[in-house]
């Protein structure tokens, strides 16, 4: 049994699952549209959350928020389930498939057999869509893969019940109903406003624009505080978060620029085209930061690129991002 479901590759898994599921129900939104309406753009540097013993840096909102915001803003009804019993979780999945519903699943990547080994860390917030079953094998639309993949019953059960930080616990979600004429324009405006608010106004120094400056201040002190080796590891982890599979380049900054450009047309707001171009410049600045940082942690530059200089670059990026979101907030959309 196979649902007539179109797999489209995306940069990011949650954008991709959301976009593919919506498409199945007749709502055609590109990945940048999903990301923008879902206010996916963010920045945080969180010393209270550790990954491999180092503070977590993130360029997006928490897993699940994009899907939640997009469906809410478009008036789409969704159903979410989680399970304590793996067999029950698989039974429910089968039941949904038999009803002809494609199902979104939260999975861990560590045991995903089709993923390159080097990318298989204990990351538990990956999203896939399952859209059919033939014998023991499930048809899987994994947005970061170029083609449709399949997983056996046991493989799927294992990734749905992976362990570690934030275990997925068999979480699944599916669309119950969609409105005949979803309000795309107002959803775009809400998405932009929400992102500007997130980036500019959260009164905690680790989040938004302040978070970039916070990281810059900490990064400046890494070599003195942690020693060269740990400083290099911390820096390389920031780069991995910035450029890991699924950011579309430069920690989602280019996806957001694409969203602003597409929105300029839909909302008839030429000002958004200019802001899109500015956002592209910011993305390029992040890429430049990554390039310099890699030279620094590889130590190929013989000390020419210092943590001080990298911190200065981040401060400059923070200023640019602040500027663009102030403009976005004052736009009369």
């Amino acid at each position: 049994m196979k649902i007539d479901f179109q797999h489209n590759q995306a940069a990011h898994c949650e954008n991709g699952v959301t976009s593919n599921l919506l498409q199945y129900y007749g709502i055609h939104l590109t990945e940048p549209m999903v990301f923008g309406i879902g206010s996916g753009y963010f920045f945080s540097h969180m010393p209270f959350m550790k990954l491999n013993g180092m503070s977590v840096t993130s360029f997006r909102v928490l897993p699940g928020w994009i899907f939640k915001r997009v469906t809410r803003r478009l008036g789409i009804r969704v159903k979410r389930r989680k399970f304590s019993n793996p067999d029950k979780a698989m039974e429910e999945l089968d039941r949904m498939l038999e009803q002809g519903r494609p199902v979104g699943l939260l999975v861990g990547v560590f045991h995903l057999p089709y993923f390159p080994k080097e990318y298989r860390f204990h990351f538990n917030a990956h999203n896939i869509t399952v859209f059919g079953k033939e014998g023991d094998r499930y048809y899987v639309s994994d947005p970061v893969m170029e083609n449709v993949e399949t997983l056996s019953f046991e493989e799927l059960k294992k990734v749905r019940f992976s362990k570690g930080t934030y275990p997925p616990k068999g979480r699944m979600y599916y669309i119950e109903s969609v409105p005949a004429q979803p309000e795309i324009r107002s959803a775009i405006v809400k998405g932009i406003r929400n992102t500007a608010k997130d980036m500019l106004t959260i009164p905690i120094p680790m989040f938004g624009i302040d978070g970039i400056r916070y990281l810059a201040r900490k990064l400046r002190k890494w070599p003195a505080k942690l020693g060269d080796k740990a400083a290099a590891l911390n820096l390389s982890q920031v780069i991995r978060m910035l450029e890991e599979i699924g950011t579309g380049g430069a920690g989602f900054r280019f996806i957001f620029a694409a969203f602003l450009q597409e929105s300029a047309g839909i909302l008839q707001q030429p000002a958004l085209n200019e802001l899109s171009a500015e956002m592209t410049v910011i993305g390029d600045a992040w890429r430049n930061f990554a390039w310099q940082a890699a030279r620094c942690f590889k130590n190929r530059d013989k000390g020419m690129i210092t943590y001080d200089k990298l911190a200065d670059q981040l401060m400059d990026i923070a200023g640019k991002e602040e500027n663009i979101f102030r403009k976005l907030r004052s736009l009369n959309l």
């Binding site: 993923f115 290099a232 390389s236 942690f297």
Partner: protein, 143 residues
């Protein structure tokens, strides 16, 4: 990033199977998509992370072969697990895992619990107790 600048620094991604979707601007300034086989800065960030894992695992292997730690300690590291993740997979408390990381505790494992460890560490129970196998594992991600 411009369409012509999409990096193709091949390392870990696989053409035709998994490549990065990049959002880039074309000559007219319009956003479009392109696939990338990888980019040097992120390839190097990944390589550094793995080198770190392998360096720790090498040290742990030496201590296992010296009889100071049990093979569980080694396989835990090459599965990028810590005591907490392993405890979740084996479904026993962390303090017990700590005991089993030493040879004294490891030798007292029941076959049933040994099998659970082996499953969590993605090997067979026979492989888990085989120190020769452990000696032969090559720790590198360089070609």
């Amino acid at each position: 990033m411009k369409l012509d600048d999409v990096p193709q620094d091949e390392a870990y991604l696989i053409e035709g199977k998994i490549r990065d979707v990049c959002y880039v601007v074309d000559k007219e300034g319009h956003y479009t998509r392109a696939l990338s086989k990888g980019w040097i800065p992120k390839n190097e960030a990944i390589r550094l992370a793995w080198n770190q894992i392998y360096e720790h695992a090498e040290e742990t292997r030496r201590r296992v072969l010296d009889g100071k730690l049990s093979p569980i300690a080694f396989y835990m590291e090459i599965n990028i697990m810590d005591i907490s993740i392993l405890a979740d997979y084996v479904e026993i408390p962390k303090r017990k895992i700590r005991k089993h990381l030493l040879m004294k505790g490891f030798n007292k494992l029941t076959p049933e619990l040994l099998a659970r460890y082996a499953q969590a560490l993605n090997i067979s129970p026979g492989e888990l107790v085989d120190k020769e196998r452990l000696r032969e594992i090559v720790l590198t991600n360089e070609d």
